[in-house]
Amino acid sequence: MAAPAVARPPIIRTERLRRLASGRNAIVALVALLVAYLSLVPLGFLLWQTFVRGGHLTLASFREAYSETGLFDMTANSFAFAAGSTALAVVVGTGLAHLVVRTDVPFKPLMFAASLVPLIIPGILHTIAWFFLLSPEIGVLNLHFIHPLTGHDFNVTSIPGMILVEGLHLAPLVFLLMVASFRSMDPSLEESAVMSGAPLRSVFFRITLPLARPALYAAILIMAVRTLESFEVPAVLGLNQHIWVFTSRIWSTLNAVPPDYSTAGAYAMSLLVLTTIGVFWHGRLANRARAYQTVTGKGFRPRAIPLGKWKWPATVLILAYFVVSVVLPLAILFYASTQQFYSPPTHYTLTHLTWDNYKTVYHDPLVRHGFKNSLILGLGTATAVMLIAAVASWIVVRTRLRGRWLIDNLAFLPLTIPGLVLGVAILSIYLRTPWLPVYGTLWILFIAYLTRYIPYGMRYSSTSMFQIGRELEESAQMSGAGWFQVFRRIVLPLLMPGFVVVSVRELGSSVLLYSPGREVLSIAIWEMWRNGQFPELCALGVLMVGGLVVLVGVAYKLGARIGVREA
């Protein structure tokens, strides 16, 4: 078959010129430029701000940043916090996923309900709920269980406490990731190990887990990056105790008067380097893992392994997890929202409930504004991210365009930029661009969210794009549809449920896609927390959780309705 080189005939060249001018290419070019702009500009700016001062390359800001006292503690804290909560989340999430997918443990639906927690309880609310549950002296669990049993309080405002809260909040994400992975695994691989005489424990550690390695690495990476850049837990639980991590330090540097942008930039760069190493390391591991990956995309109905005598302990474990991760936080939030002033529940407080906080919240202009802006930003960003990601992933997956890998990587780049760092960069950029007057408007938030969620949008839409057979597009072409029509009538409608479903079910980190809408509200909550308005805060939290439950429910319905069946 192989033959000497064939000179490409001249027709191709003129063809290419003619086609370059088409509307399709205009859109492709526009999206590519947009992605490049969104991801490169903040990064470039950050570099410039940190390393250039007065027109010179300098490391001065690093010297200043790292000559602060307590720096060693901060770094150690960051690592301990990230490593601990990642480990907790991965172990709990993977274990529960295996129980649910592969064994006959009862109450499986409860686990899936629990897995929605990160979607419906924003991080800051979750953290505050745990503060009420586990803080020394006033924490409900400390008062009624831990102190009577051990004689000590468990202090949630400590590194172990922060690890516990962050780990619990992230475990469902790992759970979702691993469920998808275990489900797509051919059960005959495990069965053949059983037939070779391996006991169940060895099957899990020697066959199942190694096969799930790609998903496991992905989970570890996402968790590590997310904990490094997590702000809510260190801020709520660590600030008052002066337990600093990178993110809280950046925040306090920026909150100083006057704000010190270049020192913040230096911290931000350190964080950026760490997350980049994480992403790079994951890429290498994932590549190596792919070599022996025999997991097919096909869906299987795996045989459930009977647990035997372990069934009851496992059941207790599942129920306990559900209570701890769902019931307790929601219950304490609801309780606190019905109190005049926050105090631990007693007979008196439980009989003197009030709805005043809801009224206050309802009339609070900040809250109303927050709701409106959240809604606008949430819908706006979701739509924009979907459209951009759809076109970008179409370019990457479908075309043979040279340089398409660049778009893929550029779109992935913002993933390495911690949210707070991105905020810093975007804030400073648009402070200095009077020709682009977005500062102080919703637009700057829109740009920030767009940048932040494009990597995730890209992940989901390329996953779905791979699942949409090329022939579906080709048959539309054969039916006479041009590129726009194919995209509007075939690609987008097919991508949409994939977006919803993949983001809800497959990649746990999808929480982030829902975040833009609620973060504006999260700001309101953060402000209330700083002002000590605990009951009002909880009332707002309960309303928010209610709203998110509805939203997630609709998303699920939408996903289930349109052609995307359980594989």
Binding site: M1, A5, E471, E474, S475, M478, G482
Partner: protein, 371 residues
Amino acid sequence: MLTIRNLVKTFGAARSEKHKRVHAVDDLNFDVREGELFTLLGPSGCGKTTTLRCIAGLEMPDRGEIAIDGRVLFSSEKRVRIPANERGLGMVFQSYAIWPHMNVFKNVAFPLRVMPRKQRPSKRELKERVERALTVVRLDHLADRQATDLSGGQQQRLALARALVLEPPLLLLDEPLSNLDAKLREEMRFELKRLQRELGITGIYVTHDQVEALAMSNRVAVMRDGKIEQIDHPRAVYERPRSRFVADFIGTSNFIDGTVESREGGTYVVDTDAGKLRITSDKEYSVGAPVVVTARPEHIELNTSLNGVGPNVWRGRVEARAFLGEVVDHVVSVGPHELRARCNSKVSIPAPTEVTLRFHEEAFSLIPAGE
């Protein structure tokens, strides 16, 4: 009706051979006549699907010309390349490519709805045309059904209706039956053939299934490595394969090497190391030329009575047999050769038994040695 001239399509090879390009389609020429079903047959990787996709406009050929009824769709020389969506051809894909987010009616209506605004039919006409197309494939009662709720055979019909709704001059079929189970495939084979004949559709059919090709087509082109080995009527391809590849790919064949000993008009006597064979052939071979004789196993008769040996009657010994239901296969050794003979199920001879092999005239085909 369709003419293909000097069609070449190459793909970039693996990185290690950076400058070599694989010729998926290598200088192809053929014509398809009005109203016929023309089949491209070959093993996977022979370029049949690439050829079809070039005609569809989904692949851009490197060189050559494709024209339908004088309308040039692609020509490297005239610098013409009409995009797939403006060619107005119908195509049925291997996976059917039914859009899962539309119901049956909408799937079929799609080609009409994306027509340029001026030509787009009115609502009533659109409904009529869709219903007509659905009636043709007997899906009219399922118009409101969600496309994903159809069975495999129904999806296949739906894909066909969608391809036919524009009444295209040429229908392209890319292994449309390969996803169906054996029973349904047989049913659909007749159904497709009936539709094609009744509607007078010109079609190009791509398949790797020789039975399908023989059963359905008016003419078959057997492809190998991007080239056409033989274009003929199904019967001719089967009975008079022009190369060892064709004989081997279609049906089962015994190959016996030999040399032409003598000829008398179109009748040759070929000397082989197991005996002599008398063969008629329309091709020219000179005396002494090395040739290969192909013999179809179903045209070899086995007999346990051992009288009468001569040209086309050999002696051999049954070495093994296999009962296949309708027929019984025997492996018979003759000299250095092991030949396969297929008998009807009444004849079943245990091994080892000495037998007489009687070759029928039509069993043979003569091809030059070395393909």
